[in-house]
């Protein structure tokens, strides 16, 4: 990909992301009342993040086992309401520890 091609992709990514943020800020004066739209917007972030995480996380590491451990650690700590940073770092440490064990013990 040339740098000029990249700049086109960047403009589309930054532009659409910004429009999604700025248009409602400028236009919407009243609250949304449509229950279906409100409900759709309520569920959507969770659906999006889930789709992006599973199954992608299980192919993001060298071994499925380490990904399973990392994912398990993340779910466990998230259930305990730990912060985003804590969960993210702990998931990484879980993967690292498992990969070290697999690499050097087996």
């Amino acid at each position: 990909m040339s740098f000029n091609t990249f700049l086109i992709y960047l403009a589309v990514t930054a532009g659409t992301t910004y429009l999604v943020r700025v248009v409602p800020m400028l236009l919407v004066k009243k609250e949304i009342e449509n229950k279906f739209i409100l409900s759709f917007l309520y569920y959507m972030p969770y659906a999006v993040l889930s789709v992006m995480t599973i199954p992608a996380i299980f192919t993001a590491t060298n071994y499925i086992a380490s990904a399973v451990v990392g994912f398990g650690v993340a779910v466990f700590l998230a259930l305990k309401n730990k912060s985003l940073t804590t969960v993210a770092i702990a998931a990484c440490l879980g993967v690292l520890a498992t990969e070290l064990v697999i690499t050097y013990l087996f």
């Binding site: 943020r21 309520y42 959507m44 659906a47 889930s50 996380i57 994912f71 993340a74 259930l79």
Partner: protein
């Protein structure tokens, strides 16, 4: 609040967000290099977009020279929640926020900044918003730069581990509401099932990742918006 005091308070409140962004954007920087982007390209994406999930979805499309329509649709779908936050935040802005200033602060409407700004009493002065948004922006850009540049010198096993950071953050966002709300849980499980179908059924594997994200999340969300519309308590 006096202007400079409000700005300082905003900076102060932005520090924990900044620290969280450092680790996640560090992983994003590494991810960009793995996907074949340059350090400068990774930095430019973070400086202009400031959306973790959106950027993570955009990079593979860029790297594979996917369609621009797919890229734009993916960003709109993934970042649509920012529209809701913008609507909500617009109620927190005082009369000094003209169109130009609204355009300026819209750039930094993120989950975390929205969360902190929403928790403020009344309508904070505009200087507070500026301070609150400045520190996380620097954290997001700096983390990406260091991750992309240092990703080359870190051991492979460490890079692999850090690649999971963003997924860990997503888990931390999804799991608590899924635990507390059965409808959210079933919606999430439906979305995951659809996602796995696209990943493992042979003739569906060819569908681009951006479209998979859009199709699965829209179908699951629309289904549950129809079957289980939210009540008053869930609107906030």
């Amino acid at each position: 609040m006096i202007k400079s005091a409000a700005f300082k308070q905003g900076i102060k409140d932005g520090i924990p967000i900044c620290l969280g962004y450092l680790s996640v954007s560090f992983a994003f920087g590494i991810f960009c290099i793995e996907q074949g982007l340059t350090v400068l390209e990774a930095l430019l994406i973070s400086m202009t977009c400031v959306t973790s999930a959106g950027q993570l979805a955009a990079v593979p499309i860029m790297a594979s020279c996917g369609s621009l329509i797919e890229l734009a649709l993916t960003q709109i779908i993934i970042n649509l929640r920012y529209s809701l936050m913008s609507i909500s935040l617009s109620q927190k802005l005082d009369e000094t926020f003209n169109a130009r200033r609204r355009c300026a602060i819209s750039f930094m409407v993120t989950d975390e900044i929205f969360g902190v700004a929403s928790s403020q009493d009344g309508k904070p002065p505009k200087e507070y918003f500026y301070g609150l948004m400045l520190t996380p922006w620097f954290g997001w850009a700096t983390g990406t730069l260091v991750g992309a540049a240092a990703g080359n010198i870190l051991p492979e096993i460490v890079i692999t581990a850090l690649a999971v950071a963003i997924y860990g953050m997503f888990v931390a966002i999804v799991v608590p509401p899924a635990r507390d709300n059965r409808n959210v849980l079933y919606c999430v499980l439906t979305a995951i099932a659809l996602s796995c179908i696209f990943a493992f059924v042979p003739f569906l594997k060819v569908v681009q990742s951006g479209f998979v994200i859009i199709i699965c999340s829209v179908v699951a969300s629309a289904l549950f918006a129809y079957l289980k519309p939210i009540g008053e308590g869930e609107r906030s």
